[in-house]
Structures are given as C-alpha cells and as structure tokens.
Symmetry: C2
Subunit: 132 residues, 2 copies
C-alpha cells in the first residue's frame, strides 16, 4: 500500500483538507484540476460542475461561519494507472458544525502531480431506512 503513487495521492488528499481548514482558496485551486470536468458535491448540495462553480462554492463556504477542522478516519486509497480515489470519513469539529461526512475524492495524475477531479461528501448518521 505504501508505494509511491499511493503516498502521492494521500498527500494530494491531505492538501485538500489543509486548504479547507485554512480557508485558502489559492491553495484549494492548486489541489484541483481547474477544468470543466471537475465535480463537487458538498453534503446536501447538488453536484457542482466545472472549476468555476466549484471555486465559487469554496469562496462561499470560506466566507461564512467559523473555520472547520477535519479529523480524517477510515481512509482508503486505490490507484489504477493515472486515476485514483480516496474514501474516508471527515469528522468535523468547529464552526458549530459537528458530525461525520463520508467522502469520495477522485484524483487524476497529470504532469505536475495528482489533481482532484471529484469531491463528494455526504452526511452520515441518519437511519438507513430514511433513504434507499
């Protein structure tokens, strides 16, 4: 598991949460592939498509409420060629927000390293019978 691509993907994944905690839109823009195909689903939000929309959402989130802290648990990473995905739990602290968000983050390897192309988070903890 601890091979080179895996470590590089985990570093890119860590940079995402660091940028989120620091509310640093510039750092966040270096984490993502700044392209039309990127997709972001914040918990409870509809899917946002394209870097322009995604950047706007982070601008909005960073500008409201208090900063969040993420304690990441149950992290798993898979690499298949130039694609990779990380699945984990984001345990949220701070900003009056508490709870766990399950996340899937997809990355693609490019010349300059691994770039995020999908971030999808969903709140955990409601009854399995609430939805199918």
């Amino acid at each position: 598991m601890a091979d080179e691509p895996t470590a590089a993907v985990l570093a890119a994944n860590g940079a995402f949460y660091e940028a989120f905690e620091l509310r640093d839109l510039r750092a966040m823009s270096q984490v993502w592939e700044r392209s039309e195909r990127v997709v972001c689903g914040h918990p409870g939000w509809p899917l946002l498509r394209g870097w322009r929309e995604v950047a706007r959402s982070f601008e909005q989130i960073f500008g409201t409420g208090e900063p969040l802290q993420f304690v990441l648990t149950d992290t798993a990473v898979e690499v298949v060629g130039d694609a990779a995905w990380v699945t984990l739990n984001e345990n949220l602290l701070g900003g009056g927000v508490q709870g766990t968000v399950a996340a899937t983050n997809v990355f693609v390897h490019e010349n300059t390293g691994w770039r995020m192309v999908v971030h999808h988070g969903s709140p955990v903890g409601r009854s399995p019978d609430d939805d199918a």
Copy 2:
C-alpha cells in the same frame, strides 16, 4: 464523448440501476467487482467496505419497502485508462421515497468488462448552510 469506453461505462452504470430497480442481487453482484476494495455509501449510511458488506446492504434494501425507480439526470462520464467515474442525479420514485440523490460511481476495467468499485450517494436538497 460517445467513444467505445464511454459507452461501455455508461452501460455498466445502467446495469447498476437496472439491478437496483429489479431488486436482483445476482445481477447486482455482476455489476460490482467482488473484492475487498469496493466501497458503497448509501444516502445517510456510513461507508461500507468490501463486497460482503456491500452485498448485505443490497440484500437489506431489496428486502424492505417497495421497489424504487430511478430517473437519471445530469449524467457525466470520464474515462482515464482503466478507471472511470460517472456522476449523476438519481431522481427517486416509488416506495414512499421521493427526492434526488447525487451519486458518484467509480468503475475499473477488467478482463470481463467494467466493474463498479465505488457507489456513493448523498441526498440533495437541504440548505447549503446545514453543512460545510
């Protein structure tokens, strides 16, 4: 977009929803890579890891309530080598359930075709301010 891998991934994605609608666990088991690395996040559920856990969840879902119908919208597919991901909205009908689920489905190409390795669905429609 309508090249061969893209079409094959969309077919695998369609087979997932067909198996779901038919509540056909056998068909569902042919959609998925039956491995330890598969991950499934039903809306509101914690992430389930490994085919055994994932299969059990579908058994549970198929055995309760009424069958669901999925109207899929805003579908986008990306293929990078032997990996692919589909993002879309599942508009749910039937079974007393109504609403939209945003989904990310990851597939890997194997000898016998494209197999699902991640399904992650999250309910859409709550206020963006409910979560970060």
